[in-house]
Symmetry: C2
Subunit: 373 residues, 2 copies
């Protein structure tokens, strides 16, 4: 008789979410967040839902402060930086970064690693900056990270740390002698970073931080109120938000609350160092299988492969139907590649468990075996 293994049964029956969209978080965080919204046992906020308490209440101010404090602690943010949670996603961040970081030259350099950098350049231009594309990997459909560039007189250089679509990631920071601005939406909290190397980091919450609707900014205090594009509209002015402890207007209460819960969980489970270790294991395991398996091929340059978004294609497109059935049957969702690259993309944000990667590599091996028999 087959021995019943509850863990294995659970793993094989649960949904493995490899999607690139917002946001996978640990189940325990979803459970806590759910109770914050409605708790049949009475609720934590004086009987009210987290959604209905005032953002000026002691309860919410303390949530906001804990969230900002956890960002500071987990990323070892130096004291001379300010941490903010705003709205608008990285799409508004493209504009906010340009408006706040504009300096005497009104000229910025962008490292173009694909869709997100391209959008960031567009908004910087509308903001009134001269935008120099100092490096680009567009010649190879953005399948690598460009590493050589000349720096002219620039107010700042902008980079996107991880490209979700093409599956590339900076593993070393570019060497620059001007302020460095980074859109870290898709890999923040996935590995240790040295915040002091950046003047401004911004990140849509919805990958590793919390639900869509909050955007994290980590800005060096020297950069506040220094823009050459003043006056900046209030909502776009990081100095305005900094002066109000990230409560200039009603914040995205629920997204900040869940981000706080998630960062609290991250801290309790080994913080960023442990997460980086697990993420390295997940990436190693999947890339090893892609490289080993004759039916698959990675699309990004090996040295620039993303540990968050693994892009790969079938070596034989005629096997697509069979393969699609196999992973669907394994309760894997979100594996379809972005239309600009095609093929497959396994997004492996923090909350994706190693077990899910094991399920994926197992069915990849099974798939190959099926054609070797």
């Amino acid at each position: 008789m087959k021995k019943f293994d509850p863990k294995k049964e659970f793993i094989m029956s649960k949904t493995h979410n490899f999607g690139a969209g917002p946001c996978i978080l640990p189940q325990i965080v979803f459970e806590q967040a759910s109770k914050g919204v409605f708790d049949p046992d009475g609720g934590q906020f004086n009987g009210l839902s987290i959604l209905e308490i005032s953002h000026r209440s002691e309860a919410f101010v303390s949530i906001m402060e804990e969230a900002r404090g956890l960002v500071r602690e987990l990323l070892e943010v130096p004291d001379n930086y300010t941490v903010l949670f705003l709205q608008g996603g990285a799409s508004l961040g493209f504009l906010i970064n340009a408006m706040n970081m504009a300096g005497a030259h009104r000229k910025a350099g962008y490292i173009n690693t694909g869709a997100w950098s391209t959008k960031a350049m567009k908004e910087a231009k509308v903001a009134g900056l001269e935008v120099i594309e100092i490096a680009s990997s567009s010649d190879q459909n953005f399948n690598y990270i460009p590493k050589d560039f000349e720096v002219e007189e620039l107010d700042f250089i902008h980079m996107t740390s991880n490209n979700t679509i093409f599956g590339t990631q900076f593993h070393d920071l570019p060497k620059v002698n001007v302020p460095l601005v980074c859109d870290m939406s898709s890999d923040i909290f996935s590995k240790k970073i040295d915040v002091s190397k950046f003047d401004l980091i911004y990140a849509g919450a919805q990958k590793n931080v919390g639900p869509a609707g909050a955007t994290l900014y980590i800005v060096k205090n020297d950069c506040l109120n220094q823009s050459s594009l003043k006056p900046i509209p209030s909502y776009l002015d990081l100095n305005v938000h900094a002066g109000k402890d990230s409560m200039f207007n009603t914040p995205p209460v629920f997204s900040v609350y869940v981000s706080m819960l998630n960062l609290r969980h991250l801290k309790a489970t080994g913080a960023v160092a442990e997460m980086e270790k697990v993420n390295n294991m997940k990436a190693s395991e999947l890339y090893a299988e892609i490289d080993r398996n004759s039916l698959f091929k990675g699309t990004a340059a090996k040295e620039d492969r993303s540990k968050m978004n693994v892009t790969f294609v079938l070596t034989d497109e005629s096997k697509k139907e069979v393969w699609d059935k196999i992973w669907n049957d394994a309760n894997i969702v979100g594996l379809k590649g972005h239309r600009s690259v095609g093929g497959y993309r396994a997004s492996m944000y923090n909350a994706l468990e190693l077990e899910s990667v094991e399920v994926l590599t197992k069915i990849m091996r099974d798939f190959e075996a099926q054609y070797q028999s």
Copy 2:
């Protein structure tokens, strides 16, 4: 023996949230929203949380479309208008409205009814418009709605339909012959409106619509792509969002989801007409008590009194401590007035039940009786 009345016991023991902050919603909506985040019975979204499904998934696209459709249906939005859910609150809306509605004159008229209008004017100026304060009630600490003004050559006139701080509300629309723009954050869905009288309506969701983090825009299609301030940054351009069915970038998924649930509930319980009836009853009852009770006095001009935010003071400040204890003991929260007005403010958004108003008026009568005995 006293007969046990479960309903009465429940009413007297529950928390009555008269707070002005975000957002009180019906308990059933909180319960549904909570299950969307985490459902021990498996969840509705293929076993996933609403927070982790892709915003491009069929499930979420259909939530967004239902939310937009319910706005359209419940407010009888004409076909030549577009409904959008963006981020940034009314604070970003102040800027978005000015940038999108700027016309040939680059000049706009603002009816100043207090804090929110003042902020709106500030952002319009930063956007590059000449701002004319065509009317203001600042001479009386904004305790009335100014009704007379001259209209020069203006691109649009801006009004705030309800002032949460001073407790005033427009009960008749100003007669204008230029496009009318309205910040309806604090009274949208509380009463029937004629959308065709406006060119642009915007509203932070966090009073009557849903949780903080989403902002509703209802814009006449003729106003899209007509700004004299082009190019507008993408996130601030309503035409960009309209062209992408409100999915230009990752939307505030949870806030839109809960807004949809709340509007669904509103529709099922009599829609806006029924809500208006209940809101009228709540306001009548509380204002009648304020006018009748010798210990209280309303602060707003009678004809301009808000049905959403009722502002009042004690006629004898020395009774403050006693009164504060009384309402605190009655499980009333959020009754403290805004610092610009002092006294008390009873915010009575849609989800505040008539019973809560009955509790408040009852303790007001008890309080008076205590001093008459």
